[in-house]
Amino acid sequence: MIEPDIDTSPHIADEIKYTTCYMCACRCGIKVHLRDGDVRYIEGNRDHPVNQGVLCGKGSAGIMKQYSPAKLKAPLLRTGPRGSGQFKEISWDEAMDIATERLANIRATDPKKLAFFTGRDQSQALTGWWASQFGTPNYAAHGGFCSVNMAAAGLYSIGGSFWEFGEPDWDHTKYLMMFGVAEDHDSNPIKIGLGKIKSRGAKFVSVNPVRTGYSAIADEWLGIRPGTDGLFLFSLIRELLISDNVDFPWLVKYTNAPWLVIQDEGAADHGLFARDDDGNPLCWDGEGKRLANALDTDVKPAVVGVYTLPDGRDAVPAFELMARRYMVPAYAPEAVADRIGLPADTIRRIAAEMAHTAFQEEVVLDVPWVDFAGRLHEQMVGRPVSFHAMRGISAHSNGFHTCRAIHLLQMLLGAIDCPGGFRYKPPFPRPVPPPQKPAGKTGQVQAGTPLQGPPLGFPTGPEDLLIDDDGKPLRLDKAYSWEAPLSAHGLMHMIITNAWKGDPYPIDTLLLFMANMGWNSSMNTAGMIDMLTDTDPDTGDYKIPYIIYSDAFWSETVAYADLVLPDTTYLERHDCISLLDRPICDADGPADAIRQPVVSPDRDVRPFQDVLIDLGARLGLPGLVDEDGSPRYPGGFPDYMVHHERAPGVGMLAGWRGENGARHGSGAPNENQLAMYKANGCFWKDELAKGQRYFKFANKDYLEYAARMGFIGKAQPVVMQIYSEILQTFRLAADGHGPVQPPDAERDRIACYFDPLPVWYEPVEQSLIDDGDYPFFAVTQRPMIMYHAWDSQNAWQRQIISRNRLYMNRGRARTMGIGEDDWVWVSSHKGRVRCQVQLMDGVNPDTVWTWNAIGKRQGAWNLDVDAPEAKQGFLLNHLISELLPEGTDKSRYSNSDPVTGQAAWYDLRVKIEKARPDEAREIAPQFEPVTPGDLLDKTPATLRYGASFRAGKKAAP
């Protein structure tokens, strides 16, 4: 036959623009192909350090986000009751006038009455700074309910952590163990890395109750019971210790293992490090038989033994305290096997595999490097065992300590920032913890005055807490109080409850950005809806007086706002992925990036960052106006990105600074900086020299570079902390020592959870619940096609998944008479949901799970009211309480990690009962629809996107 002519070289794009993806928090470089002003195609940027040219399913669906009919079109002012979804469109002038008047009054009287919380945004370098210019301590982003346990545990242990702070050495590791990583965090680098290591024949072990996603390709899946990871880790640690599979030389050089800990029960310094007159920690120099400065290099410190201090008291190396803690029968594999749900033999074998890989299969790179003491090492020798962990560890109330346990295991193996191990991403490692304290103490929050520092930081003792003279919280979310002393990311999950209760005080305005607190981003969603709409019976006023919300889409939370400030999409604005924020660096060098508008908005919306800068100027915030009161950044956020300096020469972007753009790291603002970013694909990366790439905590060349770049104050080594003196200071306060002590009611709790060594305890809520009543663990995760994607659906994503089931272990379900597709009630101490079951083998038998955030409220996101997301999608959030169970002596505490305030999403326990045959076969609970009416575009019955790009085809309707 004669084949038809085919145009194999069609014209694709009139123009290709580079920018940065925003479909999740991964922030990949993208190339956007534009044709006739529309987006023809989005692909990964091959030169970009994050994604190296690949793009995930979310990023590839960005077109449908851009053309979503759920996009808000203009500022909205509420006209009906809260939650009704009734609004009128207003002008930006009117919207800004309303917001300015409200906020000006708050700032002139009591700035803490503005609570400013942002969700999945990536602008914290701006938003946190703005909050401190405003003068409110009530600021945080979504880290408090996502990953603060990972960040805090890492920063308080090794000066870095997973994801944005570090990554496995994908090119050299021979053994990767991943804990509780759902389908993401971070998205494409993990996928690229897993492909690499499996293709090299390295072993990949996944510890996760559910065998989906990454766990599906693990060489070994360990379907552990949720929240028991700490016990598993301690058992591995015990196996390594009693078999001498510990890297002593490494521990002595780079950690506080040999530092002497004062043993004087009852004394004010019990458990602190013994120090010399200059404050240097002491060790016992076994060769010189003397006490010595543990930071000296000419000592040979002992790791065990009892030594006498000059004042006659005993002191013991931190290593011995640690070893005694874990070398006990309670952590033998047989002792923990049932509780964690793995056979004892498996635990023993995993420990043996780790030890073999670390100590028998060293990776040697012929790269010379110089250590902190100036000693030349001809080679880089690594122990190729690496770890990565995320929400499965983080979202438990024992997650801080469990994450510390992972870092302890890494330290014992000597597998940190070495070839084949976990690697820091610059600007990490930083000092343990980073030297930044939270501002907002009594007297620091004053009318008309900026906060003297950032709202978030890292306390190093009780004196850094934000509490009043009675020990009561000063922040709305009770961060940095005795309830959550190291809450480095705040407690966003508590703001609605606390604002509604007026506990610790009432606020005036809640300013939210991109945080779906009226739906899937809240625990106890139904309760949150009640609180957002609750009124004072005497006055009829809302208990939470005013809510301003910025979102690009008609999300569930929009309906609860009094004033809606519509944001643009990510393809319509400038943005900044700053080293001052959540960096996108990889282990080989620092990087940052920008977004640039690639299409123009076709509606009356503004980038939230521009709005914030405008609002700040209208309010006369010091950093946002010149001396004459005129706006300092009249060009909005792009202007700020270039010209704002946090410290002299240090701004939002590190690349192409200085007058001619020749400086990197620090330097004067450069008028052409954004143009230079755009010419380089919208990102900047500095490649470390080969000799700087490993052992960064002690690598002289790297440390000097880091100091030069402003990542660390001085070029000093970062000493890792197997034993945390900072935690001990809190415990001492609980024992009655020091000027700042907890109220009596808090003493036991602080003493219990502020153990200087990693500890495992049953997750707090579970310890208050009868396992017999609620026999199952219940967890959630997001599918890869939606992970961390704002709204979790668009026209293409929702064709892949638009409804969720409750997944149960097949064998366990059978014993309960539950079969495939059965409808069940899932109940917790807080509430119950009705949903449909799907059976699987790859789930821990004591665990049920579902996909999170698939369920939508009817009418939200401009979906039809009968969309499967609303009718067959459900939220487990209804079962998760933001407070510990009522009727217990702990019910006033939030459902959080007691150290960090991390939301304990995964501590949930439930029971499962079959729905009665006469019950409706539909999801419960359901809520009144929130339909957009005429406020949004009508949705098309048929979508023919792309038709216009094909020669001879009719244009898309």
């Binding site: 069609p10 078999s243 002595v252 039809d864 996107y945």
Partner: protein, 249 residues
Amino acid sequence: MTSLPQAGGVRLGLVIDLDICVGCHACAVNCKEWNAGGHAAPLTDSDPYGADPAGVWFNRIHGYEVTNEMGDYGGRTVHFPKSCMHCASPDCVTVCPTGASFKRAEDGIVLVDEAKCIGCKLCSWACPYGAREFDAHEGVMKKCTLCIDRIYNENLEEADRVPACVTTCPVGARHFGDLADPKSEVAQLVADRDGYDLMPELGYQPTNKYLPPRPQPQIGGGVDRLSNDQDTVDPDSKFLQWVDKLFSR
């Protein structure tokens, strides 16, 4: 009936590595976005914001579990991407009454000439892989083109002249090349990894190949524990051994 061309020297196709596919749907969605505006544009979606959204997708990912006698801990979760196999012996072509379905002589790619397609769907009945996608709105059959508008496209950089699903795959599970050339990278992969045909017994001779999971790595030849006497170890005796361990800083 439509005839097949003489078997040519080139058989372009995909090799998909099931050992590392995590089921992320990147290939499916990137395929959708490329092809929505590409050779067979549009890939119509019906009821896109309603109760029953359904559209044309050239590549779909199927996920399922394989259970074995070890039960919970011995099974496997498999993600299986599936698109047109560009078979050597494609009944979807030979059943076509109008000549709309055809197999290219030069590279073996199976395509639909929409100008001749009458939407009778015989081809989709003939395809055992379910790879054909009917666009009801347009009234024509569509399918994977192996990105015919990318792989030879002189407007694209040379490195981009591969199917969208291949260039976007984050784990690197998708490979593209000439399966007829035993020296090609894809043919080598198939040879090295025992790549296989999907349902070979049907005789369609699919060009696309799948690579099975690799065997689990054996660490240290199968170490299973660190020592035999560890349960009885006395920590104090351990400390006596360690007290003389001195290391320089």
